[in-house]
Every structure is written in C-alpha cells, then in structure tokens.
C-alpha cells in the first residue's frame, strides 16, 4: 500500500509526508518515507527496504508517475510553499546555493502540474499550514485514513518534538544576509513560481549566468566573459533545471567582441520535445538577444539544458552571457499553465 505526498523539499512538504506516514502506518510505527521521483526509483527503494507499504514523497515527480497516479484514480497530497523559504531552509542547512536553486526550481516545475490534477488535495503552507490540526485532518479525510482530531493531536505533538513542523525558521532574515548575486540568481529562477502556485499568470523565469557552467570545466560557473579562442567547442552549458510542460521561448542575452562576431555559433536545447537547435551569426559587436522556441511535453523528465557552441576554431574573441530568460508562449497551441 503506497501513499503519495508530492511537494517541495521544504519544511511543509516534509511535514505533510511525515503526517501521512504516521496516519497510515501500522501501530508498530510510521511507514517509511521514500523520496523517489520515478517508477524505477520507487521500485528499487521498495526492494531495498523489503516493503510494499510506504509514503512516496517525490520532490520532482516524473511525468509518467504523475500520469499513472491520475490514470489509476489515486488520491494523493500536494503541498506548496514559498520557494524562497524552501531555498532559505536548504541553504541554511548547508546545501550549495546553486545546486539548491536547481533543486527548488525543478521541484516547483514538477509540482505545479500536480496542483489541479484529479485526486490531488493541495495544501498551502501559508494557508492550511497555519492550522496543522485541520490540515492533518483534511489529509486523513482525503486519503481515507481512519483518524479523528483526538488521535491526530498527539501525532502532531510527536512530530513537533522531533522538529518536524509545517513552517521552518524565519527565512527572511537569512534572505537579507544572502549575497546580491546569489539572491538574484535564486529569485530569478524560483520566485515566479510563487505567483504561479497562487493561480496567477506565469512570469518569465530568469536564469542567471551563475547557473551555467563553462563548457570545458564542468562545475565551474560562468563568472564573466568567455574566451572563445581555440577549437570549436561548447562555450557554456546549463542550467539543468526542469520547466513545466508547455510551449516556451528562451531569450538569450549575449555580448560579443568584434572578433567574436566573425564566427557562427550553435544553440542546442535538450530536455524538450525533439531537439531544438538554432545557428547564431551575430551581425555586430555588442549586446544582442536571440530567441529559441521549445516545447516541454507532459511526460518530460529531463531538465532543460542549453549548450552554446562555437562551430569553428577561433584565434581571438570574447563573449559574455548576460541573461537567459524563459517565458511561456501565450500564442502557442500548448501554453504553459498550472495543471
């Protein structure tokens, strides 16, 4: 018997999973909580634990998992919380800021499609999370778990004693202490989801150069101008972040030196339906902006990865990545929308 709680990797998502584990668990103890995003990962985790009873808590549920839950008519819990709070919570716990942005942004992209899915009970940290007892009762009722408020209260007390509470530490203080570049990087990639979780129009995502890596040194972030001198190669790549299903436009803002203008470049996008690529031949030095359209289908599980490559060897030249903005295409047949 599996129960599913889908949510961001923040305090509220963790709390929801823990509540279900205790409500659904046998008297011997709570069910194990397994963080797995794909059917294969779920199967391996269950074999590893030797159990068929668990709470599956995917942070980035795969398209196939989402589709199978709906097709099977399963009821499940979806939790949302302020992605900035989740980012603050994870970084305060020692995680790397860039990796955390990737994790939170990808989680937002995967979770947003579940909010209005059939069988979902969606709980918000800033609404249902303020009344844990009512939230837990709603979870029990939705999943058909036999529990009344008198039974739920001690469960919540136990969780609180273990430090599992719906709201984390005050993230605004942490946010204020964050460096300007890191704050901008995080806000650009995750803040648009805050409005989208509320059902408002999706604002463009902005991926800072810090989220990209240089082509030749994996893990080395793009920190400034890139020297194109040398053989034809990948000059930068990234950000490896999931984007919700729908039709999107990528706007790349780049600056080219005079020498760099003489060359042709190739922009490739993977993680979308088909492989999108476009050749770029800058017309003049200075700042330029180019657009590549792509579609993310419902079953896509791969993050969006952009590769910017030189097509032939260069003796000289500099280019600078200024911005990468991803915006929904309202005119396209598949428009990115919640659910």
């Amino acid at each position: 018997m599996l129960e599913f709680t889908i949510g961001l990797p923040g305090p509220f998502g963790t709390w929801c999973a823990a509540v279900v584990a205790r409500l659904a668990g046998p008297t011997a103890g709570p069910l194990p909580v397994i963080s797995a995003n794909t059917l294969d990962q779920i199967s391996r985790s269950l074999i590893g634990r030797g159990t068929s009873q668990a709470v599956i808590s995917p942070r980035e549920p795969s398209g196939r998992l989402r589709a199978e839950l709906s097709a099977a008519g399963r009821r499940f819990i979806v939790s949302t919380e302020d992605p900035r709070a989740v980012f603050g919570h994870l970084v305060a716990n020692g995680l790397d800021a860039r990796e955390t942005v990737r994790a939170v942004a990808s989680s937002c992209a995967a979770v947003i499609g579940c909010i209005d899915a059939p069988g979902a009970l969606t709980l918000r940290a800033d609404w249902e999370g303020l009344d844990p007892l009512a939230a837990a009762a709603a979870i029990a009722s939705h999943l058909g778990l036999p529990a009344n408020e008198a039974e739920i209260a001690p469960i919540l007390d136990d969780l609180a004693r273990d430090g599992i509470v719906p709201a984390g530490e005050n993230w605004t203080t942490f946010w204020a202490e964050l460096g300007e570049a890191e704050r901008a990087m995080a806000l650009g990639a995750i803040a648009p989801y805050l409005r989208a979780f509320n059902g408002e129009a999706f604002e463009p995502l902005s991926w800072a150069p810090l989220l990209f890596t240089t082509g030749e040194e994996p893990g080395q972030p793009v920190l400034g101008p890139i020297d194109i001198t040398g053989r034809a190669r990948c000059l930068f790549r990234g950000p490896d972040i999931l984007v919700p299903p729908g039709a999107w436009s990528l706007w790349l803002g780049l600056s080219f030196s005079t020498e760099a203008v003489e060359h042709e470049y190739l922009v490739e996008i993977s993680g979308c339906a088909g492989a999108s690529s476009i050749s770029v031949q800058p017309e003049r030095p200075g700042q330029l902006q180019g657009r590549v359209d792509f579609i993310v289908d419902e079953t896509a599980d791969e993050p969006i990865s952009i590769r910017f490559m030189s097509r032939r060897a260069a003796f000289d030249g500099i280019l600078t990545l200024i911005t990468a903005t991803v915006a929904p295409r309202p005119d396209a047949p598949e428009t990115a929308t919640r659910g």
Binding site: M1, L2, L39, I42, L46, I47, E68, A72, R74
Partner: protein
C-alpha cells in the same frame, strides 16, 4: 512486504506463489500478485530489459498491502537490486519441459515459441539459484505441500502454524497446482520433431537444475528461421543461387555467460562446391564468424567459438550466409550443438578482484 518468486512460467512456480499468497494474507491486508513479464511479452521477440517500473506500477494500480511477484525472465538489474538489499526469495527450479507443457496448455502457443520463451528464462534462473538469500525449490518438493509451505514460510519469515499448513494441504486450488510437481504430461499434439527440439534446448537445463554440470545444448532447425519467410521451418533444402545474402537466422535464445563452442551442421549439394559460405554468431552484434567452402556434396560440421556476457538484448543468433554472388546448389540446415567451454560463475567478478588483490598484494 514484497515477495519474489523467481521461476519458469509453469505450474510449479504458480503453486509456490499461491502458497506465498495464502501465507502473506495471514499478516493482514490485501495481497496482490504480479507475473512479470506478461506471457505475451515472453513469447515475443523483445529485448531482455525488464524495467523495474512494473513493480511500482502494480502497487499504484492495485494498492495492495503485500505483493507476490513471479519473475519469469528476471534480468541482471533485478538480480543486483535483490543482492544489494540482501533480499530473501525463492527460486523455483522446475523441469523446463514441464514448464513448456504448462505454458502450451495455458496459452495454446506453438511449441517453437514456447520452447524459446522457456529456454530464455533458464540461464537467468541459474544466476539466481547461486545467490545468497535463495531458497531453491524443485519438483519433488511439491510432493509434500505442508513441508514445502513450512520451508517457504520459514525462509520468507512469514508467520505460519499447523492449522494454516493443514489448510494449505487441502486447499483445492493448491491441490490442482500441485500436480505440477510430478510428471507433467506433454500435450498430445506435440510431434516427435517438436519433442526433439524441446529436449535439445531444455534437457541440459533440467539436469543442471538437478545439480549436474551444464551439458551440451542442441538447437534443432525448427528453432531457426528463413530470411524472408520467418513463418516457415527449415525442413526443405535452401537454394544457394540468388546472390550474396543471409539464408537463415535465429533463434534469439539466451545462454549462460561464458565461452561456448557452436557446431553448425549443414548439408551441401555437389553444385555448392567451391562457393563460399559464412556462418556467424551474433548477440546484438557479430561476436564470431567463419567462412567455409564445401569441397563436394556431404554433411559438414562448421565450428565457431565465442564468449557471452550476462544475458541481454535479444539473445544469441546463428546465421548462415551465401558469400559468393554466383553460388549454386542447395543447402540443408541440420542443427546446432552448443557446448559450454567455460561458464562464468555468478560471483566471478568479485572473485577476480580478490585474486588480483592477492597476486598484486594490494
């Protein structure tokens, strides 16, 4: 709990799974059963790649408390997952010929397809039978249901008492399946040629499952196919004329990993003398080949040697090709004898590392 029963697609495996199902139900909650992969999949020509997705999918759809999985073509991915988890499971080492009889009766499929399906499961089972955590079950174990159920319950750490064992012994569904443990009668419609195919491809596995070393396999021509006419068998001679091309292919059957010698027995008419033919072995790529020029009419045995890794892909294929553009005459396909030269032990990789460390004093 998830309970794995690794076995051939016959009634003995079904019997064991039915026993586990009854035993698991005493722990409370519902019990689901999953035969994996489906019989349709087993009888088709598919890659040996069982995604573990099926397990999670079944639990999502069925939402059962316990799950009994009957793995019929368990690949290396599942083996590694079970090994990493130190899982306990049962391996049902039925006589493969009994499994063929059961599968033919259940599906009505032709004997060639069923023989191939069961032959594909056998080398996989051998790998599991050697794993720690295994309880091997053989046909003779089914003679005493109480004893069998007690052993299964003990191994899988399921609660059981005398009353439950007594109940199992008189359960009509269990009793019906119990017949699998004895002498399974072959379907009456099976011909002598089909029986030879069955025995050649499967009898060495039956002996191996009973504790003997792996013997020689014989793949009769009924398992192979004619290029451009896959539905017919090789009972008639083939014309060599028609340009360079492959004449025969198949049977896409997996073998235990190791080194093998294949003796391909072919008949050539006088007109084929001096023309070149190629015999090769493929396991999703060509792994051995030899060319051959008959000197005159007669029966020839052409040998090729090759090595195979863990079963994967579509299985082994032996092909006969006409190389000469102007070849003439006729070729008759006899059979292929496969002799294991050196079989790879399941824990060989670990042993290799230990040997290296010992020799190099690492």
């Amino acid at each position: 709990m998830i309970f794995f029963s690794i076995g051939l697609p016959g009634r003995l495996a079904q019997l064991c799974e039915a026993i586990i199902e009854v035993l698991a139900s005493t722990s409370g909650g519902s019990v689901g059963r999953l035969a994996w992969p489906s019989l349709d999949h087993m009888l088709g020509y598919h890659h040996l790649n069982l995604p573990l997705d099926e397990l999670a999918l079944h639990l999502i759809r069925d939402n059962c408390t316990h799950l009994v999985i009957g793995a019929r073509q368990p690949d290396d991915g599942l083996r590694q997952a079970l090994a990493e988890a130190n899982s306990r499971f049962i391996v049902v080492l039925d006589d493969p010929r009994h499994a063929v009889a059961d599968l033919m009766a259940e599906t009505g499929a032709e004997s060639r397809a069923v023989t191939r399906a069961v032959a594909n499961s056998c080398p996989l089972l051998m790998r599991y039978a050697a794993m720690p955590g295994t309880l091997p079950i053989r046909p003779s174990d089914a003679e005493d249901i109480r004893k069998l159920a007690a052993a299964v319950a003990h191994h899988l750490q399921l609660p059981v008492d005398d009353a439950m064992l007594m109940q199992l012994a008189v359960d009509p569904a269990i009793a019906e399946l119990r017949n699998a443990g004895g002498t399974a009668a072959m379907p009456s419609q099976i011909s002598d040629a089909e029986r030879r195919t069955l025995d050649g491809a499967l009898a060495p596995y039956a002996e191996c499952f009973a504790g003997a070393p792996m013997g020689r396999l014989l793949w009769t021509r009924d398992l192979f196919m004619i290029v451009g006419n896959a539905g017919t068998t090789l009972s008639e001679p083939l014309e060599a004329a028609g340009g360079a091309r492959y004449l025969t292919y198949g049977p896409y059957i997996h073998l235990p990993p190791g080194s093998w010698n294949a003796q391909v027995v072919l008949g050539f008419s006088q007109d084929t003398a001096g023309h070149t033919f190629l015999i090769d072995a493929c396991a999703d790529r060509q792994i051995a080949a030899t060319s051959f020029q008959p000197e005159g009419a007669g029966i020839y045995t052409i040998e090729i040697n090759f090595s195979l890794g863990e079963p994967s892909g579509h299985g082994l294929e032996i092909r006969v090709m006409v190389v000469s553009e102007r070849a003439r005459g006729q070729i008759a396909f006899g059979h292929v004898v496969l002799t294991p030269v050196a079989l790879r032990h399941p824990d060989a990789a670990q042993a290799d590392q230990q040997d290296f460390r010992a020799v190099l004093a690492l």
